[in-house]
Symmetry: C2
């Protein structure tokens, strides 16, 4: 295992401390429950939007905390759901009379722990609702999931709900926005390599030197099939078709297009993928209004990428265009 | 070789087309000479700031084109200097009565080709100057370099000159700014793995399963020594000391701190490194005014990272804080 890591058991806490140190004054950190939250939160005059899933997917979701995005996140260990008490403490910390919205990627562990925490919080009179994201078209059920998995499409749900919450939307309005965005977003990924959780020390699955996993999950779950390595364009064609035909997207649609790196794939390769995806959109008559190329939802150091398409309407476009700021910065 | 690539000979042109397609209306693309440039350029009322080095280092430098950054870039093939005619055409295209500033990372091939192009442009009456960046403290001379290599510190020279050019600084003023920033910036990197140029198809060097290259160059050049894999903190300690003691930085200094990913290292590990680097800064009495964690200057899919420290003064701080926009976006 070749990684920048100290004690593997401290990988997540040390990463969180790093994120906190890089954002002092903007973010606060509660190490006991892995909670990263906005320094100006909770804000009692707006709905709090929070998330907590396994670590190892950064920037999702703990680096998505900031103005116009999440108010807080409480990740678990690498590829492990946050323990129920992390979820519970995160809800309590972000408690607002306007309510708390919990965005959850569709994995059984995450759902179970958040459901228990929400039940406990509700018993204490806290107004809290959850929403499940399931944008991955690869498979119907998966290793840790009943129903479709939630992957990089999550970014758009966070962005839209974060922007709307900032503008004063109610909890019910945010649920409606999350429902609409999730209904219009589709993703699928491909792995060129496996990845190694620090505490495990071994790759989570094996891939031959000439093999790829088409439709891979962000924890290395099997996808649609194992295939031989193909050209970048052929790989894009397959995942583009799977994604575009699922909604289905139609000629004339205004869309957001994301090429998401899974962690070990450099910008150069992501733009080779973006090129073909953009050309396919043009050919299909999809109007790319916004694009996103980079690491949004990773699987540790896995080499691979996913493609996400979001069908836009005027309101969603405005929410995506709203200002936001997170721990991931360029300048 | 496992990469997202079509014909290896088309890797760079297809990447450039991808960057262009992701920035339509903002960037223009001249495929004949690999030139990516701002759609609103040249602007005859300001100095043009340009760069062109080998590809494979993205976002450096071709994705650093945009308002407040570069006006144009003309990269060569993967790890290959731009041919003289690319440099020449890029200078001509960005010709401005105020002058053209060429920022060059210190590699012999780049210097030679830019020098010839500048000579030709000058013979035609074009006002053009170049500046050499050499921030890498690892070794005094290297495989492709006489003197120190130029690496991720380049970002700060681009940012400062780009911002000053936007404000109307003269060519001489920009040269003074570049000189100051380069004199105050120091970097060093570590590789955990090698990387594979698409057209070569084989790793550019070999590293054992338990080995790292301390002080690696961004083309895989040997550094200070081959070492056994160590903890993240110990690795940071070594490169931090090398960088901090070189200027030397002093207690009370205001600094910018960058942890740059070399392409195959995910955000989670970069923040583990940032943590220790930030703690070392605090211990040394350096005041981190700005920080940068992510991919800035990569070596294809190499797993590894570099650390850059820049000593700030008021003017440089203001230039780093100026608005800018490039092809690398989060939202």
């Amino acid at each position: 295992m070749k990684k920048f890591v100290n004690d593997p058991a401290k990988f997540v806490p040390e990463m969180l401390e790093g994120i906190f140190l890089a954002n002092e004054g903007k973010l606060k950190y509660e190490p006991k429950f892995n909670i990263i939250y906005r320094a100006d939160r909770p804000n009692k005059s707006k709905v709090s939007v929070i998330q907590g899933s396994g670590s190892g997917h950064e920037p999702a979701h703990v680096m998505a905390v900031g103005p116009g995005m999440l108010d807080a996140a409480s990740p678990g260990g690498v590829f492990a759901a946050p323990p129920m008490e992390y979820c519970y403490e995160c809800i309590k910390l972000m408690n607002s009379p306007q309510g708390v919205l919990v965005l959850i990627n569709n994995y059984q562990g995450d759902r179970m722990n958040w459901d228990m925490a929400i039940e406990m919080a509700e018993a204490e009179g806290i107004k809290v609702k959850s929403f499940i994201i399931d944008d991955d078209v690869a498979v119907q059920n998966s290793s840790y999931t009943i129903g479709r998995r939630g992957v990089a499409g999550n970014f758009f749900v966070i962005k839209a709900c974060g922007a709307a919450a900032e503008r004063g939307a109610s909890l019910d309005e945010l649920l409606a926005i999350a429902t609409k965005v999730n209904a219009n977003v589709r993703s699928m990924g491909v792995a060129l390599t496996s990845c190694t959780p620090p505490a495990k020390g071994k790759p989570i699955f094996e891939l031959g030197e000439d093999e790829i996993e088409v439709g891979v999950g962000i924890h290395g779950e099997p996808g649609r099939r194992r295939d031989k390595l193909k050209s970048a364009d052929k790989i894009v064609d397959e995942i583009f078709d799977a994604v575009a035909n699922d909604l289905p997207f139609k000629s004339g649609d205004r869309v957001a297009l994301m090429i998401n790196g899974l962690g070990g794939t450099p910008p150069s390769e992501l733009y080779v993928l973006y090129r073909q995806a953009a050309l396919r959109c043009k050919k299909a008559g999809f109007n790319i209004v916004r694009n996103y190329v980079g690491n949004y939802c990773t699987s540790l150091e896995m080499a691979g990428a996913s493609l996400t398409l979001l069908k836009l309407d005027k309101d969603t476009e405005a929410l995506l265009a709203a200002p936001a700021e997170i721990a991931v910065r360029v300048f």
